[in-house]
Symmetry: C2
Subunit: 132 residues, 2 copies
Amino acid sequence: MTKNAEQILEIVTNSKEHLSAEQIFMRMKETTKGVALATVYNNLSYLYKEGLIRKISVEGYPDRYDNIRRHDHLVCRCCGKLSDIQLEDLTELLQKQVGGAMLSYDLKINYICEDCKRKRDSESEGIMHYED
Amino acid sequence: MTKNAEQILEIVTNSKEHLSAEQIFMRMKETTKGVALATVYNNLSYLYKEGLIRKISVEGYPDRYDNIRRHDHLVCRCCGKLSDIQLEDLTELLQKQVGGAMLSYDLKINYICEDCKRKRDSESEGIMHYED
DNA sequence: GAAATAAATTAGAATTATTCCAATTCTTAT
DNA sequence: ATAAGAATTGGAATAATTCTAATTTATTTC
């Protein structure tokens, strides 16, 4: 594990947000001079393959990276908003079914967030036809 | 729901594979003349937001689309290979925890496929140092 | 059923994300 | 210190996706 990889792992692990490669790159630049975006991508890909970080893809956003502490995600199907949610650990339950090949699992719960719900409602009002 | 949207939904729903926007576009062209890739993207995004299809993002591939019949996915962390797997339905279990806002869930099981395991092994052999 | 309005689609440009590659720098072991 | 290997850089190339303005198609309304 190189110094850069280590720093990237640290940034991802300590961030409360879900950072994109670009964002991680910007944070790195704050402390280290002369890092290349390609290096960030290289190392993210390495860290991901090693199972040290996870990757989350959501409609309308670039891929983002997250720590591997056990937690799940709530994703708004409409605007892509992503939040953490702590659900029951299903590792055992799933391992029983999948077998030893399983390394980990990622669970996303789809929903429609309040903002989008509101927006939908007001839109459908908008196209209402008031006959009189 | 427009005719194009309907056709795209049908292609995604009936396909055994996990198709990308580009692939769906190519299938559409077989039957319909003068469809634009942008239309495919528009409609995929619409269908996704309506919850009529799901979207799967995997390392190293463009986003792909899938039907919403209850099933889960097995993803090789190394090469991105994606396969279907039918695990126990967790809807009730999760709904109890998440509440009524939940629309559906997506579960990905991470593992390392046989090919990648083999490749890893032979690589680590390669860098072995035989002292004598 | 023609005109007016709205919605969907097109083609292609623009943008963004990501990968690739050749040249350079840094490490490590000798 | 030097050679060999690995990691990184910077920028170009590619690929995916979005955007936009113009056009077509569908839907209302009279």
